[in-house]
Structures are given as C-alpha cells and as structure tokens.
Amino acid sequence: MANVTSTAAEPERLQLLRVLGPAHIWALGVGIVLVGEYMGWNFSVGKGGMIAGLIACWVAGLLYTCVAMIDSEVTSTVAAAGGQYAQAKHIVGPLMAFNVGLFLVMAYTMLEAANAITVGFLLDTVAGMQGHSGLNQQPFIILAIMFLAWLNYRGVLATLTFNLIITAIAFLAIITLFISVQFGASSVPLDFSAVTSDPLPYGWVGIVASLHFGLWYYLGIEGTCQAAEEVRSPARSLPYGTMAGIMTLLIAATMTWYVCSGLIPWEYLGQAGTPLFDAARVTGSTTLMILLFVGTTFATLASANGCINDASRAWFSMGRDRYLPSWFGAVHPVYRTPYRSIVFLVPIALIFALGAPLDQVVTFSILSGLLGYTFMTFNMVMFRNKWPLDTIKRGYVHPFHPLPTIVLLILCSTAYFAVFLGYGTQLSAMMCFYIVASLWFHFRRYQFVRRGDQFTMPWPKPQGY
C-alpha cells in the first residue's frame, strides 16, 4: 500500500482511468444538479413570491449558461482532474487554485449533506402519510452517505453508469408529472391566481433576494469538469455534455416551477422540503406520488453520488500537488479511485447532514459555488490574455467573449447581494474562513509545494511573464 502513497516522487504513479463518454458527462452534470428541481429551488419562491421565483429561475439559467460557455472553453483546453482547480493552477496561481479547490470541496460536500437531509425528510414524510410519524431520519442519512461513498470507492465507471440510469429516471419523472397534470390527471386544479393577486409580496427587492436560491436550480453543473482526466475525449465530451446538461436543466426547471406553483400555495411552496413530491401529493394520484417519491430519491442519490465524485477529485488533486498533505493524493491500486479523499470527506458531510438545517447547508453550498463563478470571470479574461486564441489549441472556443464574462460578473454581484438579504452572517463567516485559509496556505503550506510541478500543460510561456 505504501507504494501508492507518495506521489510526485515516483516516476510511474497510478493514473485515473479514461473510460467516460459525453453521456457520462451529461449524467455527472445533470445528476448533481437535477436534485435542485426536487428541493431547495422553492426557497426562492419563499424569498420573493411566485413571479420572483420564475424570474430567478431564468436569470440563474442565464448565469449558468455563461458558466457553461466559459467552463467549456477552459476545461476542454486544461483537461486535468480537478476541473476549475487545474484551471486556476495554470492561469492564476497556486493560492487561487487552493481556494478554488476549497470552493469545490465545500460546495459539493454541503450539497451532498443537503441531499442526505432530503432523503431523511422524504422518508419521514412518507412514513407520516402511512401513519408512522416521527421516523428517526438519522440512520437513513448515514446509510445514504456511506453507501454512495462505498460505490465511489469501488470505481468511477460503475458510479457514473449508476448515475446515468437514476438521473434519467428522475428527469422522466418530472416530465411525466408535467404532462399528466396538463392532461388533467390532478384532482385539484392548477391555480396561478397568486400571480395576479399577490405577484410580488416583497416588491422588487424580493426578485433580487430570490436569486439566492434560484442558483440552486443549476448549482453544480460546472462539476462536469471534474472528470476531465477520466474522459476519453475531453475536447468533444466536455463541451457537449455540459451544454446538453444546461439545456436539460433549463427545461426541467421551467416545468418544475410551472407544476409546483400551480399546484401548491406559494406560502407553503416557499418552505417545502420536497416540493415536487408535494405537488404529486396534491394531484391525488397514487401513481404520480410513487413516481415522484422514486424521482426525489433517485435525484438526491444521483446528486450525492456526483458530489462525492467531484469533491473527492478536487481534494485528491490538492493532495497530489501537496496543497494538502500528499497522503490524500493516492490512487487505489485496484479500483483506481482517489479512495483516501473519498473516505476522508464522509465524516465532514455527515457532521453537516446530521447537525445543520437544510436552508443553512444549501446556503453554504451556494456561497462556495458563487465564489467559484466569480473566479471564472477574471480567470477567463486572464486565460485569453495570457494565451490568445492563436497561441494554443483549444478544444472549444466560446463565442461573444467577453460578453458572457461581463454578464456573469454582474449576475454574481447581484447574487452576493441576494444572499446578503437574510443570510449576511453566513456570507461574512464564509469570507473570513477563506481569508484565514488563504493566509494559512500562503505563509505555511506553500513551502511544501514544488513550484515547477504546478504547470503541466504543454503550452508556451504565458504572455506578460
């Protein structure tokens, strides 16, 4: 076992397997994110009302389209495990890379915790409907996280194939609910009267505030880049899988808003734990209820599964580069997975899943994601400046540069203000955490990092250096 622990010192270290195609990338991206349709997004309705929830859905969709465009160009060129982490390392510098690695780990680990909380809440709700209220959720939370960590430990192909199947089923469940309700399967009518009678309960500030949880519709789509080192053809698979993923999510998000807002009073919807399942309950159809129960379960499991995959890759990459102790940079000799990183992150997810409220955990995840999107704006500009289009071969070149970058920066700034409205303490606490962690890295940890090893792409020297 010792021969896999040290990393850079060995000339023939074990590599991750290149076994994934575009469908796996789609499944990884949509699989992580689709749960955003099944829970969490509806808090945006609570923060601003029905109209604000819909506007947040589309504005966040625009933000993530920019993210997907930018990410596709950079990642199809910097095809290395760790996704944005590897980008930051090559384009901005080690400290930025360390921070981006932390963004990814925090965003995905908190999302994983949120998924586990939802699994427990859903089972509790169903048990209550069957006359067994007061179910202890904790064993199910622990079981969900442990099972998925084990699956990840055993291999990436099996993990993401599993994700592909359950993500497809969860997506089809949303479409089935939408079509069924359109064709009159619901015993309770769709009612959008609140759109006119109570359109903006908080006024225009509610629209801005709702963008906070509007991000939850799509948060994590950028996770497709984490598998860059494990796809057979990064230049083709990453842009194709990511853009297909964002289109899938835009459709699913709009259908979700429509069905839930029509079937559930907005005041209830704004604080519901499992909105799509609740919408199915309102229809009175047992078949739809079972389908959306399965859909919610599969969506949360697929998301948690993808989160473990992505968070562990980011942690592994930091260990391999010695940004963290190199012990984490080991690859399993049989399964070829970053097994130590997978196991290490399990208790952290459990601590938050078992001890923090859902909206708080969701906010922690959103904040880390938001910091990552802000990084993408100046990262993109620096990428084009340091290596103009004719200097290196890119797998994909996104159009209209720098328009997506400018739009993304404006939307990120708005989203910070949205989070500040109501969750300012968490925002400040998280910023303090990243500032202290950055100082710790720069003044202590960086001494263990091999300088030259931080640049591994076969590119010319960046312009301006």
């Binding site: 309770v188 908080y202 309102v282 802000t374 100046f378 030259g452």
Partner: protein, 127 residues
Amino acid sequence: MAYKPPKQSLAGQIFDVVTLLVLTIGALYVPLYLGLAGAVKVPNPIANPTWEALGQNAAEQQQWAALGITDPAAANDIITARFDYSFSWSALIVMVVLVIGYFVMVVRLSDKEYREVIDERFGDKKR
C-alpha cells in the same frame, strides 16, 4: 536550481489537516451555534383565522387540504410569515469590502507564487 520543498513529517501532515478541519467546521458552525445564522422569517399570525381572511381562494383551500392541512389555524404561521429585508448600510459595506478584499488579496498573492512557478517551469531566472 529548482526549489526543493522540505519533507513534511506525519505529525505535520496531521496538524495541517486538523487546522483546515477546525477552520471549516468552526467558520460554518459557529454562526449556527451562536444563533446568528439564518434568515429572519417572522410569522405575523392573525386572530381567528379563516381561509378567506388568510387570502386563500377555493382552489388554494383544496391544495392545502391535499397537503394534509384542513384547519386554517395550522396554516396561519406559514401563510403570514415574511422575511425582513431591512439591512444596515454599514453591514453591506463590510460585506463588499470582505468579498472584494478577499479576491484582490488572493489574486495578488497568487501572482507572486505564479511567477515562481513560471520562472522554474520555463527556466527564466531574471525575475
């Protein structure tokens, strides 16, 4: 001459991991533990609530019933709860300074490190 990092002891590695763990859990849990975190959503329940008084039409009443809530009193808190979006400008300025200051600090220190990386990778010792 390439930079040769010192070898880190096992105790040092454990210390670094524990430091990060304490930072992570501390920063995220302390606001929760002190009751400082979370949005302020305050119920404003009305006296003697009816569905009509709570602004719920016939279709919405059916929806509440399908969700298992038939008594308007049980929905009183949910329907009347509202966020408080009033904020202090000084708190907003602190947030802006923290976010911008953080990114400026990280980019500047990263650039310093990045120049060492590029110098070593491309063999430029002039800097």
